[in-house]
Amino acid sequence: MSSNDSRGSPYAPHTTAETAAMLDAVGVDSEEDLFDIPDAVRFDGAFGIPERSERETRRHLEAMLSRNESVVEFLGRGHYDHYVPSLVDALSLRSEFLTSYTQYQPEVAQGFLQALFEYQSMLVELTGLDVANCSMYDAATALGEAATLAARVRSVSGSVVLVPELLHERRRSTLENYVAGTDLTVESYPMADANADIDALSDRMADDVVMVYAENPTVRGTVEERLADIGALADDHDALFCLGTDVVPLALLQEPASVGADVVVGEAASLGMGYADGMGMGLFACDESFLRQVPGRLVGASEDSAGKRAYTLTLQTREQHIRRERATSNICTNQAWVALRTAIHAASLGPDGLVDLANDCVTGARDLADRVDSIQGIRAPVHDRHHVREFVAHTDQPAQAVASDLAGEGFAVHVVGEHEIQLCTTERNETRRDALVEALEGVA
């Protein structure tokens, strides 16, 4: 056997001779001499992690991942699967994009900066608002940031954030954590048939409210029909109106600016990512008046010394590098690469393709609900509304039992109540709708 050169870490390029020469130049005998660590806190144990070749590592991980069973998922509730064109991978995986770097030296990062500027611009178009940042972690954290923004800009004396009664529990919990260090409290307002109960909301509105949050579509997939009313109520009480949405239906539904939204948050990775165990990307757009309160990075256009248009991270005085504890947020590393993917996906769809996709979300959910409704023992949709991608169905059997039986048939659905399941459909599972309906007929 030929003996391998005594390289340690596979991604450290040092040959033995090189290491020796470098130690010599530094003036020490061994690498260990460079560690200035008191003996008392020296670690002399082992992690017990074996070294593996690339091939063995892949085998190890792929064997593990293969223990994820092959089930057909009719799952949504904030995390959606759309077909991602091959172009998105081909371009976003280019090592000039997917590698280690940030744009702290804009002169050598014009490409990514322009791509993020374009992402921001598409979000401006979709929301109708003046400003979009270049990404938040996800919809839940974006909502948290919106609330703290509201606290900073509030013109009223209040401290209450009103959120819909029907709200993904994780989104609410994350929001609660974001406001844990502020004076804000979170309260919910009632809903009627999965839309805001405007009368109840109107009754609740008072000067202690700094922000009203509503979603379109809602967590139950319904189109929220009273957005303009909510916006007007918020406006009447000098509260911010924050609208939560998703980048796909956003192409079809009422433009947030037109219903008075001051801030738009939501999920944007529905374009560009598909299912990724919940990994997403938060969109964040707002009115220009909040510009200096926007969390996260902003890319702006400027000029270079030759007078050519150039892009740069800007308004960094909002960020932690400069303002430290007075920063608008602690967000630093963001989801820039996902924003790039979203932008490429949106651009490859174009306006027609994106609207078509959003329309398919509406018709697909309606058609599936119609078929499910015809099954003995199931009623769908529970809410007499228009739906986007997903809807709740009432099951005469306990929902958990129906879901378990479906799992046995290879289908995954949400259980959202004792007798309620939620089904989400996109073009990714459209060819399996027949099979789902058949399976439901068997178990309902």
């Binding site: 340690g8 870490s9 991604y11 450290a12 470098m22 530094v26 560690f35 670690f43 992690f47 074996p50 070294e51 070749s53 991980l61 792929e62 991942l65 994820n68 089930v71 991978d89 000039e96 997917l98 590698t99 940030t102 002169e107 050598v108 014009q110 490409g111 374009e118 921001q120 270049c134 996800d138 954290t141 994350t174 189109v223 009422q254 990724a276 165990d277 919940g278 050519k308 150039a310 005085t317 932690q320 430290r324 920063a327 947020s329 602690n330 630093c332 590393t333 963001n334 820039a336 690469w337 949106a346 651009a347 174009g350 306006p351 994106l354 609207v355 329309n359 018709t363 378990s404 995954a412």
Partner: protein, 459 residues
């Protein structure tokens, strides 16, 4: 090199029609409208206007800009990794096992008893860690109001403490660049919820008094928080848990080589000691009889992300750790520290503090930001500049282990070439880059953050 915006190439406004009632839909939508070949050329051109770690050395201090092994991308793209978090537990055992294994190896690497993978970035990890510390104190009926942060710390530490509702107590350094223990003694009190520390610190120096520091904080009832930004200096040689830290976050996009991708996504898992484990975010993964499951820790702070964090990043991080193993991780640190020391030995700059580990902070004679711009002209990426402030005109330099001697020499050549140049040349720089020096002031003064704003501007 200049590439028109997508909107300048071809844009189209379409009327939006649908089966929905008109009042529930928008009237029209305008977006770029281009074919695949046009988009391929567009983004290929954009990609060519970036300098990344595969272009050459990228010694951005405190950022640990490692090379990202390609196989980790393939593992992250495995079809079986693309699942919804709400599928039944039995149908996602692969995902849960990988999460469990990563929790476990991170715990071993950091000397921590429990690790959550939920925070989607380092700063999110800090926030999570501080929320956990807060919940811990509150569970003991112990309301505390202050978090102590060394003045040389990452800006996110200050912002995080503030976000969590704490008053920030700034801690000066001693003349050696390390924590001033006397100042710390003065600062700690029964209001101290936590001390946030990076070790080695941002000057690359190991806090030799760490045991004493830990005792001081613990004796006052406070907790010790470890910022994992500099963990790459210590792999296999020291563990935060062994030093007395109670909470820490890991920057997997630094230490464990996952791609930053132009600013993110990253992941910021948080490790804690046994006492704090019950406060970790919901859900956590544990082993069952023959499998894995999620559960809610008894006194969980709740959630800090809509789902389980940045999954694909976590997959890559686990893949990297599983590839290197004990020996590879230890060698990565050794070579990172060797590289920093070798590079420092090759440049004609004053480096006031030492002995340093994986990074050093040199002092420039001219404006450090200008020096950095000029280094671009020599085909390398410059270090982080003007920070930490303990060093005048700081050039905070972290080459990481992935550079070989030749590229370190190339870096040294660039450093030294700029050192010998006159101010005019430096202030004019860069001249050999895709864009020349960019006007930051006007960008901030009259912000144009979208092509709509550009259009409005030119009307």
């Amino acid at each position: 090199l200049y590439e028109p915006l997508l909107s300048e190439k071809n844009s189209r406004e379409v009327e939006v029609e649908s089966d929905l009632p008109d009042d529930l839909t928008r009237d029209s939508l305008e977006l770029p409208d281009l074919s695949e070949p046009e988009l391929a050329r567009h983004y290929t051109r954009l990609s060519q206007m970036n300098y990344g770690v595969e272009s050459g050395p990228f010694p951005l201090g405190s950022c640990t800009m490692k090379y990202n092994p390609k196989f980790t991308d393939d593992v992250a793209a495995h079809p079986k990794a693309a699942t919804h978090p709400d599928r039944p537990t039995a149908a996602r055992q692969g995902t849960l096992e990988l999460r469990y294994q990563l929790q476990d190896v991170l715990g071993r690497i950091g000397g921590m008893d429990a690790v959550t993978l939920q925070p989607p970035a380092g700063a999110a990890g800090e926030f999570t860690g501080i929320l956990v510390a807060k919940a811990y104190h509150e569970s003991r009926g112990d309301e505390r109001s202050e978090v102590i942060v060394p003045d040389s710390a990452h800006g996110t530490n200050f912002a995080t403490a503030a976000m969590a509702g704490y008053d920030v107590v700034e801690l000066p350094a001693d003349e050696d660049g390390r924590v001033d223990v006397e100042a710390l003694e003065a600062a700690v009190s029964e209001e101290t919820a936590a001390l946030m520390l990076t070790n080695p610190n941002t000057l690359g120096l190991f806090e030799r008094d760490i045991e004493h520091i830990a005792d001081l904080v613990h004796d006052a009832g406070g907790l010790l928080y470890y910022d994992g930004a500099n963990l790459n200096a210590l792999l296999g040689r020291a563990r935060p848990g062994d030093m007395g830290f109670d909470v820490m976050h890991y920057n997997v996009h630094k230490t464990f080589a996952t791609p930053h991708g132009g600013g993110g996504p990253g992941a910021g898992p948080v490790g804690v000691t046994e006492d704090l484990a019950e406060f970790l975010p919901d859900p956590h993964v544990r082993k069952t009889n023959g499998g894995f499951e999620e559960y809610t820790p008894e006194r969980s702070i709740g959630t800090v992300h809509g789902f389980g964090g940045n999954w694909q990043v976590l997959v890559r991080a686990y893949a990297y750790i599983a590839r290197l193993g004990d020996a590879g991780l230890a060698d990565a640190s050794a070579k990172a520290v060797l590289n920093a020391n070798y590079l420092a030995s090759q440049i004609d700059y004053d480096i006031p503090f030492g002995p340093f580990h994986h990074e050093f902070v040199a002092s420039a004679d001219e404006d450090a930001a200008d020096v950095a711009k000029r280094m671009l002209d020599y085909g390398v990426h410059p270090p982080t500049t003007k920070w930490p402030e303990a060093v005048p005109e700081a050039l905070m330099t972290e080459p990481t282990e992935v550079e070989n001697r030749r590229s370190l020499d190339q870096l040294a050549t660039a450093f030294d070439a700029v050192a010998g140049e006159d101010v005019d040349t430096i202030e004019r720089a860069p001249e050999n880059t895709a864009a020349r020096r960019i006007d930051q002031v006007s960008a901030a003064r009259s912000p144009r953050l979208s092509w709509q704003a550009l259009d409005a501007d030119s009307e």
